[in-house]
């Protein structure tokens, strides 16, 4: 269980981006953090993956403060896919996938490649395994980035604006695909695309001005006004 308690964050310039944020993400769900640009969604995400340290409040994973957790265990528990994906441009898709298993989990190259192959096949992109990130489409890159995060088998995977670079058809396909995977991994989707969130997420929060304005089922909180 991922639990956020009384979280506040102020940028060095003095802008308070998060004010007393509080919510829980139940496992095996697709949870959605919604809100317009500048509402504090991405700042919240950065706090959850420890790229920013909150001024106040706690983030707990299974009852343990994430800032007290062993770094390696934490990174294996919570993964993130950035809006810009940040695939490694000098490595092939396969090499992007196997770098962390080999270096972090100390798996052999063969074992890492076999697992990567299985994941790529499941996402239907095994054909591009020898391609470089610049040689594949936006939709494919999106899937590679998620596959790269999934291979570490995280309990939670945060996705920052996952549909921003996808067209309507790919977005639909991507949604179906997340629903298939949610039994293994809990997805936290940060998005301003409310219709997309409404299609796949069960619950979520709506943010504005660094605060949570509504929480509950996405159908309800997603209503305009």
């Amino acid at each position: 269980m991922l639990k956020i308690e009384g979280l506040s964050y102020t940028y060095p310039g003095g802008l308070q981006a998060l004010k007393n944020i509080q919510f829980e993400v139940p496992p095996q769900e697709i949870f959605s953090i919604m809100g317009r640009s500048g509402s504090g969604k991405t700042t919240l995400l950065k706090c959850i993956v420890k790229f920013l340290k909150p001024d106040r409040g706690r983030i707990e994973l299974h009852g343990q403060d994430i800032f007290q957790m062993d770094e390696r265990r934490f990174r294996q528990s919570i993964g993130i896919v950035f809006q810009n994906l940040y695939l490694f441009p000098h490595l092939t898709v396969m090499e992007n996938m196997t770098l962390a298993p080999m270096q972090v989990l100390k798996k052999s190259k063969r074992e890492a490649e076999e697992e990567a192959m299985a994941t790529l096949k499941r996402l239907g992109i095994e054909a591009i395994r020898q391609s470089y990130p610049s040689q594949i489409s936006g939709g494919q890159a999106q899937r590679v980035a998620i596959a790269r995060a999934l291979i570490l088998k995280p309990q939670y995977l945060l996705l920052d604006e996952p549909t921003s670079a996808l067209d309507v058809e790919t977005t639909d396909e991507f949604g179906r695909w997340l629903l298939d995977l949610k039994a293994e991994t809990t997805f936290v989707i940060v998005t301003h695309d409310v219709p997309f969130a409404a299609k796949i997420a069960t619950s979520g929060v709506l943010m504005a001005g660094g605060e949570i304005k509504a929480r509950g089922s996405v159908q309800e909180i997603g209503q305009p006004g």
Partner: protein
Amino acid sequence: MACFNSRSIKYGLLRMLLIASMIGGVILKPLLLPASEKTTLTVALTGKFPPFSFYSEKGELAGFDVDVAKEIAGHLERELVLVATEWDGIIAGLLLKKYDAVIGAMAITPERSKKVNFSQPYAYSGAQLFIHRQKEGKIRDIHDLPGARVGVGLGETYEQFLREKHPAIELVTYKAMTDIFQDVLNGRLDGFVTDRLVGSYQIGQGGMPFVAAGPLLYEEQLAIPVTKDNNELLGRINGALRQMEKSGELKVLHDKWFAPPSKKEAGAVSQMAAPVVVKKLLRGFGITLLVGLSSCFLGLMAAIPFGIILHRKIDYLTALLRFWNDFIRATPLLIQLFFVYFGAPQIGIVLSPLQAAIITLTINAAAYMAEVIRSGLLAVDYGQNLAGIALGLTKFHVFRFVVWPQAFRIALPPLMNAVVALIKETSLIAVISVAEVIREAQSIISVTYNPIKYYFIVGLLFFIISFPLMKLSGRMERNIKAKGFSHA
């Protein structure tokens, strides 16, 4: 792993370096100065001032000064070691005891006498104005020249004399006599002032249409300088000169080299045998490549940690390195060369010319390459770091597997350009008497009087090396762009 294989590039560079060092090893031996012992007499001259000193058809040092040096060494019962060095730094080198004496047609002047002690004169000459034969009627002597352009050798005594006594003349200084000849032929100069003996000899050798105009501007006494603390050697040199005068040896040598040009075949331009030219140019080019490539390699080895430190901002270390790099990049390479070669002995480190050249160019390459590597690191999106950390990689692994490979690929094309620039800059090391290719070409030109031909060949040699490197750099750049690297 990647489209272009960084390992094969590394081995390619290594192999080039190895070949260069093999060529270098064979031809460098005579260049590495042995520590002067009491059994040797080490004498400096320029090797570019015929008939006093120049390289003969066989590629050996010859001339009046060389013969005088041989005789004196014979009288002193010491083995003669000749060092060919640039005129600019010849006294500085003497003061640092790079050699025992200079026998280089040096005139006694009050300024020089403050720094060194001169022997008794071993030859007498003087300053003479020479003009183009076509102007023979118009210019009778130096007084007909106000406002005219007159060429003189850089650092020669004529320059100072003319500035003081004939301030209305516009002086143009040159590093080589052959360049002065070329500019008189081109009409850029109205005339030139040089040593009467040397001038007449060179005009005859080069088959130049120049004539002497007017009487000697002043007489000069040519003598041999030694350091102020070396009276013992000075006494022995004077003793030898007195004996040579008495026995008539000195007169024989003088006549051998300074006989009137009429004795020579009229219009016969002197030549150098083709195999000697080829050998000299290849040897010079071998040294150019050896110095250029080894400095690049060593410079890169230093630049990698330097670039990383500059990028990571490690407190005082970064501030220190930033200042050092800015200092190196803001000062001329020529000054750095002098500083290392003449300055290091002051703190007890005596370097051979070749060592000083490689060290200076390495320092220079390291400074420029460190900046290239720093900007390569800067060009890698910070998100790449975050993505690596999010995948559980340690900071070291993120650098090793994610940031560095991208930064190095981005840095490679500008690094190749730095290599090309550095190889071309090796031409400057001639000032500390490393016989690189341009110095060798100049010594060929001082005999053959054909600057255009030999500079063209040297240019071609540089092109043959630089062009493929530039092509390689361009190919790498396209490769990097194709892979969608940021800012590439």
